[in-house]
């Protein structure tokens, strides 16, 4: 089984040396987040990732997620691990305390994301899009929707997805065919098919909140007629409890070469009830709040996978003996392969790229935070002017 030790010291080094950033300091939001506090968080994060999440990588690979009678079953051990994961509050790390979050900076959650990507990417994907959905709803949805959905998403009891791709469109969203028909009560009926939906269905949470791009019947063709809708797997009652099943079914799950524990679904929407998020025909703008955050997290996935690959190849190079080097000191005919020049070159190349990536992620997380908060301030100013 692969081994993994979270690079907490490297992360703390970045936190201490790179946090002094002019635009970021002006926010004055995280002055109380000290290095000691971050060290405590990262130490705990290292423990859960090394002890609880890492074994799930092998389990997920050997027992892929399956679709049984229209319901996705996650690999053995995922449910128990997810329960512990949400009990410890890891889903709420960078969320607003107003909705039950811990209010940590995105730099800290980026470090946690890296550890989780290294430990088990399949497991990580079940909670990854929840944070994107949280940010999208928090920035674009009306207050009543925020209050109804966000606390459960932050708590990890409900998860989120991002439904963009269809059989006819992916990058070119102007071709999108899913349609939304407005109802007399202000809700919409969503019909269409979405594919490649990460964690589109699973048995880890009691509800799944899909953020779906669709075209309203009276909207123009192309990207200028796309709106964003919140479509829950189970309709949420007025008191916040989970009600009847919405018109969403899982058609199939993808058979993949890697991340087999993660369910990548085909979702069929059959007059499913949806609620508009943001302005009509401006769905792409709202979705880009989520997409921009997810893009960094996908980059971090690459970083996490690189880190665990480096750690395991380094460990192997220190224990494997093959051939003699030019300056051999071996008496039994072979040197450790780490003594060979080209192996050292490969390992150092990997290490230097990983450290550079981690620093860039840290900086980008700071810049994203600055841009999101400035957007909110501008929006609040606009609203103040409008209602004066």
């Amino acid at each position: 089984m692969p081994s993994y030790t979270a690079p907490v010291e490297d992360m703390l080094f970045l936190f201490e040396k790179l946090r002094d950033n002019k635009n970021y300091n002006e926010l004055k939001k995280y002055d109380e987040v000290t290095t000691d506090l971050v060290k405590d968080i990262l130490d705990e994060a290292a423990k859960i990732n090394q002890n609880l999440i890492l074994p799930l990588a092998k389990i997920g690979d050997e027992n892929p997620a399956v679709l049984e009678n229209g319901v996705v079953r996650t690999p053995p051990g995922y449910k128990e691990a997810y329960q512990k994961y949400i009990e410890d509050g890891w889903t709420s790390l960078s969320c607003d305390p107003k909705f039950g979050g811990q209010g940590m900076p995105k730099t800290v959650s980026a470090f946690f994301d890296e550890m989780l990507s290294s430990a088990s990417l399949s497991f990580k994907l079940y909670s990854e899009l929840s944070i994107g959905a949280y940010n999208c709803i928090n920035h674009h949805a009306p207050e009543e929707i925020k209050e109804k959905y966000l606390p459960k998403i932050v708590e990890g009891k409900w998860s989120g997805t991002m439904c963009l791709t269809e059989p006819v469109c992916g990058t070119d969203l102007g071709l999108l065919k899913t349609k939304a028909v407005q109802q007399s009560d202000g809700t919409y009926k969503i019909s269409g098919q979405k594919i490649f939906i990460t964690s589109g269905d699973h048995d880890l949470t009691e509800n799944i909140i899909h953020l779906v791009l669709a075209r309203s019947t009276d909207s123009p063709a192309g990207t200028k007629g796309i709106s964003l809708f919140l479509v829950p797997k189970f309709i949420v009652n007025d008191d916040g409890t989970v009600g009847q099943r919405n018109g969403i079914s899982t058609g199939s799950i993808e058979s993949k070469m890697g991340i087999k524990g993660s369910a990548t679904c085909v979702l069929n929407f059959d007059e499913a009830t949806g609620y508009m998020i943001g302005s009509k025909d401006k769905g792409l703008n709202a979705m880009f709040t989520m997409m921009n955050l997810e893009r960094i997290v996908v980059g971090i996935q690459g970083l996490g996978i690189s880190e665990i690959a480096y750690q395991n190849s380094l460990a192997y190079a220190k224990e494997r003996k093959q051939g003699k080097t030019n300056n051999t000191k071996s008496t039994n005919g072979a040197d450790f392969i780490i003594e060979h020049a080209d192996i050292r070159k490969s390992l150092l190349n990997m290490k230097s790229i990983i450290e550079g990536e981690r620093a860039l992620c840290f900086w980008l997380s700071q810049q994203t935070e600055v841009s999101l908060i400035i957007q909110m301030i501008k929006l609040n100013r606009k609203l103040l002017i409008m209602f004066r």
Binding site: G302, L303, I305, S306, Y316, I337, S346, N349, L364
Partner: protein
């Protein structure tokens, strides 16, 4: 910047994991061995000779 990070880190992860696999296959050892043999047995004396000639020219 976010799409650049997404794309770059994914590409680099492909390279790094490939290098990690190659380390498990001892691939680079053979390369180093062949190169060192080449320098020691065949090329090094010639190179030294030419180097001496070059120094004399200077």
């Amino acid at each position: 910047m976010t799409p650049v990070v997404k794309s770059l880190f994914t590409d680099l992860a492909m390279e790094i994991t490939n290098d990690a696999m190659q380390i498990h296959g001892d691939m680079d050892i053979q390369k180093t061995k062949e190169l060192s043999n080449y320098i020691e047995i065949i090329e090094l004396p010639q190179f030294t000779k030419e180097q001496i000639q070059f120094k004399q020219l200077i």
